[in-house]
Symmetry: C2
């Protein structure tokens, strides 16, 4: 159903300019930070219920793809949005730099085993999109090859959708200055220092190229069956709220119900 959070949906087949969306805007919510946090908590409780029913029903599968620039808040989003949800029905897969073994296969080979099963929610922290992002920006494969991947991605996701998977793809959109602050914090705060990788600084130099790669990849692969959302993510509280709303909206649309069980067992006594 249409909600005010649909403003962040990337329209299929049109150009996308990330600079048109302010990373620090909070337009789809009327309240302040505390009110947003309270609303996110409410959504979280509802997510807990729906996930339980999803699992019990064992009919639908849900895939959430999370992408962002470094320090974009993927980990924090997962923590906040899924807090309290039964880990039994939620699988998080992190896709880091591919291993030699993974590179020996097609680019969808390593993600496919992590698609959700019946009744499951799978969350991908990075994904097959890295193969049209970093692969493009850092020239890891020739353009003819990464460009063809857009079609392969659309086809793969269509197959998943046709087989019963609901897909939502989220780009956490931060500003270059917000990234600077967050990376600086990783240096200055001893508690965050473990998150620091020297490669982050190097990657940061390619900021504009990444933004362009994201724009083109999202425009080419945002479909009816697997839409992309660009979520303003400079403010964590707004980001958490929007991602929760988008996910809940998708789940509510599925008409999930606790299965009724076999009516024939009514009156049965266990001895």
């Amino acid at each position: 159903m249409a909600t005010k959070f649909d403003r962040y949906r990337v329209p299929p087949g049109k150009g996308l300019r990330l600079s048109d969306i302010a990373p620090d805007e909070t337009k789809a919510f009327d309240g302040d930070k505390d009110q947003a946090r309270a609303r996110t908590q409410t959504l979280n409780a509802r997510l807990e219920e729906l996930q339980e029913a999803l699992y019990a029903e064992g009919r639908h599968r849900v895939l959430v793809v999370l992408q962002a620039m470094d320090a974009g808040g993927k980990d924090g989003t997962i923590r906040s949005v899924f807090e309290g949800v039964n880990p039994q029905g939620v699988k998080v897969a992190c896709f880091k730099q591919p291993t030699r073994h993974e590179l020996a296969h097609d680019f969808l080979w390593r993600v496919h085993p992590h698609t959700p099963g019946a009744g499951e929610i799978a969350i991908w922290n990075r994904s097959h999109y890295e193969d049209v992002l970093v692969a493009r920006v850092r020239d890891l494969v020739p353009e003819t090859r990464w460009r063809r991947r857009y079609e392969h991605i659309v086809a793969f996701e269509k197959m998943l959708a046709d087989e019963g998977t609901t897909i939502r793809k989220v780009f956490l959109h931060i500003s270059k200055d917000e990234q600077r602050k967050r990376l600086q914090e990783r240096i200055d705060d001893p508690k965050k220092r473990w998150k620091w990788h020297p490669a982050d600084l190097d990657e940061r130099r390619w900021w504009d190229d990444y933004q362009r790669a994201y724009e083109e990849a999202m425009a080419a692969t945002s479909t009816e069956h697997a839409p992309w959302y660009v979520v303003p993510a400079d403010r964590n509280w707004y980001r958490d709220l929007v991602v929760s709303e988008l996910l809940l909206d998708a789940l509510e649309g599925l008409g999930i119900r606790l299965p009724e069980g076999d009516p024939g067992i009514a009156g049965l006594r266990v001895t």
Copy 2:
């Protein structure tokens, strides 16, 4: 370190009689139900912290094996003990009746891929122990074969431990009458009916054989590196508390610390 919850540890190489442990006892905790719930919440918050550090440090791996009779409370335990813990570092694997494909391999083949990676906690809802439990009781393989599996299990778990995995194995110990009540609830409560399987009643007839199979399997495979605990589980609040205590004790013993990161980056400015 020794705690009062060690009373539930199965001593290696000695006989075990489940009837010596009352499923409804609460001896290792002085308070009442509300106090136990409050304590479990405190432990839960600490678990959240430790799991975060475990993940950040990426050095240790933790495996929790959960076994129980039907309706023994495995799902509820996972939900309560791990509530609020970041799903990113926790992987739950459910082992149901093996598929034909799984049966075409050795009995450890299907569990091995689900062992925890560095910084991860893996929870197994049922496990390779089914292959010395149901396989024995229902005569799925000859005794010579399931009996040899005790040694294979000990060797496999020793290998995991030597490679850096901390293992805790928990049997949720309910009484036959408590099982009756819980199965009856699944029939009578429409919200629980989806959990009902006709096979549950059939399995229940083999109660005594299962208890014997558990006793022998646990006695044969409770080791220093992978101890079994028999947790009285008729009362959910006590069960949750004891499992939390056991898990926390194991984690505290690891000396997990947030990694310090590269000291050379101090003073670095991100531009």
